[in-house]
């Protein structure tokens, strides 16, 4: 049997080589299917990988308290100044919900001037609370982060964020389109820990330098937080010196901890808002768990659409292989007769055409896998899209599907070939 298979493979390879153009056309569609499949596989895998990372890093039970901009009033007289969720409210919520993993408040300011050793540069500043460090921003901290004492005393301390070097492709992109960033350059060349800097003219001591995780280790979770801020200060200090705006209003992020307790946590936050601010619907609690789930479902849906396209490409490739094999059967009818005359059985003939078609499928699958990898890894990196997580089993599955498709679509032509009567086949011209 193995020898028969080897003979059929040898004969198939010779036939494919003898009809290169025809063969290329038939396995190209299979190759396209393979590329699409690998892309979809890696997209699905990536989605789950990101979810896992998100869960590992900061959990999924996330919510955000934001001001309700859509609150309506029946007449202008009914309008009341919406209340602010500030530092005091945050502390109160913290006291009432000690089981929450994180309650972080943040007030941003986009353009501030920082001075160090006579050099002035533009840096965005954010006023934050001590639990800011628990959010899904991966970094290594040198020095220390803020504590509640810094908050209460409105101390003029700051933490600087040092960006990780960009990925190789982004580096090329940056070189071509950007002149670089003065803040990053300053932090790269100077150790500012323990030094003093001026922010909007006020002196701050640098108590920590947070270095962003390298690109390869960075979390690409669903809440996809990419830190743009460069300088962090206690939110109370920021408000006191008028550095951060927002009228005392904080953007509050909450990590309720285990997903199982999320509904209770949501209820607790809503109750807190109702008790603190009344029935005014001044705030909305954004359910990030739901967002993450929706996001994930959308990504999976996209991936399944891609897989369907891949299936279509495979089917088109399969039909191509069926056509080519049928054409081959008719073109080689006399050869079939000769082979039958010298002792080939129906199953030998069937095997020969099946093996030939499967070889075409395999070549298409291998070619498609190579192209899929080229697209998924080097090309996507060069284009700044981030490499697809292509695992070794993905090309293998893709090649297997290609071979199975070719096998399935070759059954009919091979059966036609095997069914030819030797005497009739020998008479064919």
């Amino acid at each position: 049997m193995i020898r028969a298979l080897l003979n059929a493979a040898r004969s198939g390879a010779a036939e494919i080589w003898a009809h290169k153009t025809r063969s290329i056309l038939s396995f190209l569609a299979i190759a396209v299917g393979s590329v699409v499949f690998i892309d979809a596989f890696s997209a699905i895998f990536h989605t789950y990988e990101r979810l896992e990372k998100q869960r590992e890093f900061s959990g999924l039970a996330r919510m955000r308290i934001i001001q309700n901009q859509a609150a309506s009033y029946s007449s202008p007289d009914d309008y009341v100044e919406p209340p602010s969720f500030g530092y005091d409210q945050l502390k109160k919520l913290r006291e009432q919900a000690p089981e929450f993993h994180m309650i972080s408040g943040e007030a941003r300011s986009w353009r501030n001037v920082m001075e160090y050793a006579g050099e002035r540069l533009v840096a965005s500043v954010a006023g934050v609370t001590p639990e800011w460090m628990k959010r899904d921003f991966g970094y290594t901290l040198r020095g220390r982060f803020f504590n509640w004492h810094d908050m209460e005393e409105k101390l003029r301390v700051c933490v600087l964020i040092r960006r990780a070097p960009p990925p190789p492709a982004e580096k090329i992109y940056r070189k071509a389109y950007s002149t670089g960033n003065a803040f990053d350059t300053l932090l790269t060349h100077n150790d500012l820990l323990g030094k003093t800097v001026k922010i909007d003219g006020i002196t701050f001591t640098v108590i920590g330098v947070a270095e962003e995780f390298p690109h390869s280790k960075r979390l690409q979770g669903f809440s996809g937080y990419r830190e743009q801020t460069k300088v962090l200060i206690p939110v109370t200090t920021g408000a006191n010196y008028g550095i951060v705006r927002g009228g005392g209003q904080l953007e509050v992020s909450i990590d309720a901890g285990p997903e199982a307790g999320f509904d209770d946590a949501l209820r607790k936050v809503n109750n807190f808002l109702k008790i603190t601010f009344g029935d005014g619907d001044f705030f909305l609690v954004e359910n990030q768990l739901e967002e993450i789930r929706k996001n994930m479902a959308a990504r999976l849906k996209d991936a399944f659409v891609t897989i369907s396209l891949g299936m279509l490409a495979f089917i088109a490739g399969g039909i191509g292989i069926m056509n080519v094999t049928l054409a081959t059967v008719f073109a080689r009818t006399k050869e079939i007769g000769i082979r039958r005359a010298v002792g080939a059985s129906r199953s030998d003939i069937m095997l020969q055409f099946m093996v030939e078609a499967v070889l075409l499928g395999l070549i298409g699958g291998v070619l498609g896998s190579a192209l899929g990898w080229l697209w998924g890894v080097p090309l996507k990196v060069i284009l700044g899209m981030g490499a697809s997580p292509i695992k070794p089993w993905m090309p293998l599955i893709s090649i297997l599907i290609a071979a199975v498709t070719a096998f399935a679509f070759a059954i009919y032509p091979a059966w036609v070939a095997a069914g030819l009567k030797p005497a009739d086949a020998l008479r064919a011209e």
């Binding site: 020898r3 003979n7 006399k334 000769i338 010298v342 002792g343 059985s345």
Partner: protein
């Protein structure tokens, strides 16, 4: 290996009641005989040869090959019998032009499960036996008609058959090549191989041990 046909009939599909090629033929061939089958074109000679060689099936009558009723054989058994017991030599050679002379001879050996150097050595010795030593790598298109037919004879001998069925083996050859091929066939017959040869050539037929003359699907004599 004996061949025994009784009341053999073959009707090809077509027309109202089909087209009868054989109309009840009965004869027997003993092992080691050299039998020629002659008759005008369309008299059913090739059809008879195809049926004897298990390339075609009769629509009536009985055919026993070495005592076995071939109607009861499965496709696998018929193929195995063709491969191991019967060798074919056709008028138009029926070689695969893509393959070398050696590969053409290897074909029946491959279907018999052979492979490797032993198989190639056997094929090369068969080619040498028919006078084609040194031409193993040539494709049929690079060989003369006589040489092609000799490759076909070497291929027919690959699995040491007991019967060789030759369908006008000299039909496409010049007289010198024809003589060589006939000499080869007589030599094989002398070794004990049964030969059934279809021919138009009455002189050739006269040289064989027995001649079956056919007309309109029947045996004349």
């Amino acid at each position: 290996m004996t061949i025994h046909c009784s009341d053999l009939a073959k009707v090809y599909e077509g027309g109202k009641s089909g087209w009868p090629a054989l109309r009840g033929i009965s004869f027997g061939i003993k092992p080691g005989e050299f039998v020629s089958v002659t008759g005008p074109s369309g008299c059913g000679k090739s059809t008879l040869l195809n049926i004897i060689g298990l390339l075609d099936e009769p629509t009536g009558g009985a055919y026993r090959l070495n005592g076995r009723d071939v109607f009861t054989l499965s496709d696998e058994e018929r193929s195995r019998t063709r491969r191991d017991e019967i060798g074919f030599v056709f008028q138009s050679f029926h070689l695969l032009n893509r393959l070398s002379a050696l590969e053409n001879v290897c074909l029946p050996l491959r279907y018999a499960g052979a492979g490797g150097d032993d198989m190639r050595a056997r094929a090369a010795s068969l080619l040498a036996r028919v006078g084609l030593h040194g031409k193993e790598k040539k494709t049929p298109l690079e060989l003369s008609g006589g040489e092609r037919q000799r490759v076909a004879i070497a291929r027919a001998l690959a699995n040491s058959p007991k019967i060789i069925l030759a369908d006008e083996p000299t039909g496409n050859l010049d007289s010198a090549s024809s003589r060589e091929i006939m000499d080869s066939l007589f030599a094989l017959n002398a070794e004990g191989i049964t030969i059934v040869m279809v021919t138009h050539d009455k002189e050739l037929a006269a040289r064989t041990g027995r001649n079956i003359r056919m007309r309109d699907g029947r045996i004349e004599s």
